[in-house]
Symmetry: C2
Subunit: 214 residues, 2 copies
DNA sequence: CCTTTTCTTGAGTGGTTGCTCAACAAATAC
DNA sequence: GTATTTGTTGAGCAACCACTCAAGAAAAGG
């Protein structure tokens, strides 16, 4: 997801050859991280460009030169969030856990610990940052909705694989289970935004796991 | 919740004596219903006063004369939503069902049918209409958050009563169960907004009920 | 009839929104 | 050195935001 139109870090990891013109006076990654936190806390439209420039410590012109526009900055923020531990724990659990049951148990328990963690805004950015958008920003809402629905497909694929391997009984419904876990995770994100504690969410996670087919 | 500052329907149910001045040229209830639909679909801040006046078929002056301001109109819309079948089904189920298990089973199954119903915006207004708000509208966000958390307390009270009556085993945790059902309901609302069908949500509801203590 | 009360209308308020641009600054290329 | 390239700056753009108000209109009271 790197290589935005106005960006210059196309070959990440390569030695950063000094660019030709005047060098950027601010840390692009740090500014993006600040923007991510703001979008995460307030959401896309409730965060103004003025809020962003203030938090990023730059002037509007620098923001538009470095990131394109507000929408592109948001998409980069979502990508940065997805690379962070908080945004990647679901994918990591699915990859690392040998069993589907182990993966979903870990996902729910980690969500219970991570979502209410006070070191960052509560809940999941992908779930909550663009739920209320005006007509002209519907694209942003659809962007996150597609990410959420893609997650659902990933869940279903993992569960279907578990069924093929015999971990899940033949009469289980992978699609229904995937939708159920997606709903629980989204509900836990919301509850954490409403003030739910890690302990409360851990109890919710344990109860949710009771739905796993016997 | 009637009797707003600028309203004249203080004694509801009484014969509507013709008021003294020029009569209102529009149907206040119909206008409020139109506003409710708009807030429900887009959320508080993503709905502009211009959107509202257009949908309500009135000019800004009439809106402010009849409802106060945008914030007061929103609170009236939330109250109207709460009086509607869609907004009241949770309370109705808790009141009508003799057992707690029956009540929560009915709540989840009705949510699965109601939330994706195409005759109105998807999901629950209380859950989704003010998740992304600017700093100056934080009060509106807190208003809905308090409603959601009050619902949680109601759930817990019903479950505790069930435990006292022996319906729930002594080792069950009413608070944890209440939080779990709240999370599932909020998750189902979100899923319906993301396009989940009634069938998918019904399956989610059935899986969720597996958490009920044996 | 005239007065009083209330509602509607249309123009318009100051403030904020996302965004732009000319001028200037700081680097490399030659 | 000069030319070229890119970033920063501060002023400022049109569009929209929630909201207001004077003038006129439609009712009841007397």
């Amino acid at each position: 997801m790197g290589g935005m139109t106005t960006d210059t870090d196309a070959d990440a990891g390569a030695v950063r050859r000094p660019a030709r013109g005047r060098p950027r006076a601010f840390d692009r990654d740090a500014a993006l991280a600040a923007a991510t936190l703001l979008f995460w806390r307030r959401g896309y439209e409730a965060t103004s460009v003025g809020d962003l420039t203030e938090a990023m410590g730059i002037r509007p012109g620098s923001l538009y030169a470095a990131f394109g526009d507000k929408k592109a900055l948001f998409k980069e923020a979502v990508a940065a969030y997805g690379r962070s531990p908080v945004g990647a724990f679901v994918a990591v659990a699915l990859e690392e856990e040998p069993t589907a049951r182990g993966a979903f148990a870990r996902i729910l328990r980690e969500a219970a610990a991570i979502y209410p963690d006070p070191s960052h805004p509560a809940g999941c950015l992908t779930i909550c940052a663009a739920t209320n958008v005006t007509v002209q920003d519907e694209e942003v809402g659809a962007f996150l909705r597609d990410l959420r629905n893609a997650n659902l497909v990933t869940f279903e694929a993992r569960l279907r694989a578990a069924q093929d391997e015999g971990e899940l009984p033949a009469d289980a419904d992978p699609k229904a289970l995937a939708a159920y876990f997606a709903a629980i995770i989204q509900g836990m994100s919301q509850r954490s935004r409403d003030g739910a504690t890690a302990a409360e969410l851990a109890a919710t996670a344990d109860l949710a796991l009771a739905a796993w087919p016997a």
